[in-house]
């Protein structure tokens, strides 16, 4: 099973140009200037014969590829969660709603990053969810909590490597949604407690820490350099 969707590779810069013109014509009134992508550079990631991927954090594109890898993992996880035959049995209606919404958001993040990266994106990853019992509520929610907290800490820790203000801006738009997910999942596990936000300051983990934590769930090995 491939995590990635078979999206046609898009001419991202052309899309950016068209959208920019459309926005200008519409007299877009968003606060501040709408962020436009800087010129897309090729990825510096090295893909080995065994499928292993080495991301180069001196490249903004590969910091985005790092996010893309994590979003692929999250999207695949929630797609599996909501398509499991037991989904509507083990989760209450309000819990199903949260998990379906989170699934949708993660698929959006994955599809957006795939399209934005275009030909500079890393290959589709293969998930390994053999350790997760998708028919068990607690197994699903605890894994979800791990993924969401990890995602928040990954974006928080990777921001410092981005030199493009536009890319920093879009990463910032995604990370707070991951934090909203983390809060909701934690509340499903421990309702009405203080668990939704266990600290006044969230973690900002290094790529090495994040990739080590994600490694058991991904068949391909991913490493980071120039951090």
């Amino acid at each position: 099973m491939n995590i990635g969707e078979t999206l046609g590779r898009r001419n991202f810069l052309r899309n950016a140009g068209l959208s920019g013109a459309a926005l200008a014509l519409a007299g877009c009134s968003l606060d501040g200037a709408e962020l436009f992508a800087p010129k897309l550079e090729p990825s510096r990631a090295v893909v080995g014969a065994d499928g292993s991927i080495t991301l180069d954090f001196s490249s903004d594109i590969d910091v985005l590829n790092y996010a893309y890898a994590l979003e692929q993992l999250e999207a695949a996880f929630y797609v599996t969660v909501v398509t499991n035959a037991q989904f509507t049995t083990i989760f209450a209606a309000n819990e199903q709603r949260v998990l379906r919404d989170v699934r949708d958001h993660e698929v959006v993040h994955k599809d957006f990053l795939a399209a934005a990266l275009g030909s500079a994106r890393i290959p589709n990853l293969t998930p390994n969810f053999s350790g997760i019992n998708f028919s068990d509520r607690l197994s699903v929610l605890q894994t979800a909590r791990t993924f969401e907290d990890l995602g928040v800490s990954a974006y928080n820790g990777a921001a410092r490597y981005l030199s493009s203000t536009a890319y920093l801006g879009v990463a910032g738009k995604i990370v707070s949604v991951e934090a909203r997910h983390a809060s909701a999942i934690r509340d499903l596990l421990n309702p009405r407690s203080g668990d939704f936000a266990p600290s006044a300051f969230d973690a900002a983990n290094t790529p090495q820490t994040v990739l080590a934590a994600a490694d058991p769930f991904i068949v391909e090995s991913i490493t980071a350099t120039n951090t």
Partner: protein, 279 residues
């Protein structure tokens, strides 16, 4: 000393480079070299941002933070003062918060007070004083649109949601300005995501955690069910990211696309939103 070791090992996980600075500071301390008391304070508190605050003041000198940094942090401090005092008063108000929900609000209260402390530590003498607030949004008249904010739980929760969602958008809007100051940026981001956790919890609490739009944990379009808070959500219906219309590259509907991205607010927009709450 064990707490100092904890702080350093926590930093080793977070940022080896910063940890190296701290370790060298500790060596300097043991050698009797004069150093910032804030470094020690940060280590005692044992939290990464506290230690980063100490490093920032050590690196730049007390009261000599770059103008951009002190400007952004004082802006953040203004919001955190607002939030901290709001929850301090709300938690102390008799018969306002039901027992079942108290842990939610005491948790948020503690966090907002910690954020105030962190920002004040980092700013040092550059920290601006706490304003006088009017939580009815009456600019000091005390009879604004949220006049029953500390006696009506529904009003209190609505104002809390508006503050949290504003806080998320405010920090997000300042990230580009902090981009050259990577340690400060990172510390600010670790607050930014906590505000988002708060926002999600309060939004869901307002829907009693049920399947009850628009009280999910995320912002749908620019929708608000709270009269007078349109400016808090203005621009959240955006579906264009990096110049790309995201609805054209996914099968997920536009509604969920807007939920999948939180939008920033400019400093001016945020100050306009909170102005009625400041005397």
């Amino acid at each position: 000393m064990s707490k100092q070791s904890d702080a350093v090992s926590a930093l080793t996980v977070i940022d080896a480079d910063v940890a190296a600075h701290l370790v060298s500071r500790r060596h300097a301390i043991t050698k009797g070299v004069t150093t910032s008391g804030l470094v020690m304070a940060g280590l005692r508190i044992g939290t990464v941002p506290a230690a980063l605050a100490a490093l920032a003041t050590d690196a730049y000198g007390q009261g000599r933070l770059p103008t951009v940094v002190s400007g952004v942090l004082n802006f953040a401090l203004r919001l955190e003062y607002l939030e901290a005092e709001f929850y301090n008063l709300g938690v102390a108000a008799p018969n306002l918060i039901p027992q079942a929900d108290r842990q939610i609000f005491t948790t948020i209260q503690a966090h907002e007070n910690a954020h105030v402390q962190y920002l004040r530590d980092t700013l040092g003498t550059a920290a601006r004083p706490k304003p006088v607030f009017d939580f009815t949004a009456g600019n000091g008249a005390g009879n604004g649109p949220f006049a029953d904010v500390f006696t009506n739980y529904n009003t209190f929760k609505a104002v809390a949601q508006a503050f949290e969602d504003t806080g998320v958008r405010a920090y997000k809007g300042q990230a580009p300005a902090l981009q050259p100051y990577k340690d400060v940026l990172q510390a600010a981001l670790t607050i930014h995501s906590v505000e988002a956790r708060h926002a999600a919890e309060i939004r869901r609490l307002r829907g009693n955690f049920a399947d009850n739009e628009p009280n999910e944990g995320w912002i749908t379009n620019a929708d608000t069910d709270i009269t007078g808070t349109a400016a808090v959500y203005a621009g959240e219906a955006n579906t264009t990211q990096l110049g790309l219309n995201v609805t054209t590259v996914t099968s997920v509907s536009a509604k969920e696309v807007t939920e999948a991205f939180d939008e920033p607010l400019t400093m001016a927009a945020v100050l306009a939103i909170i102005d009625p709450f400041i005397v």
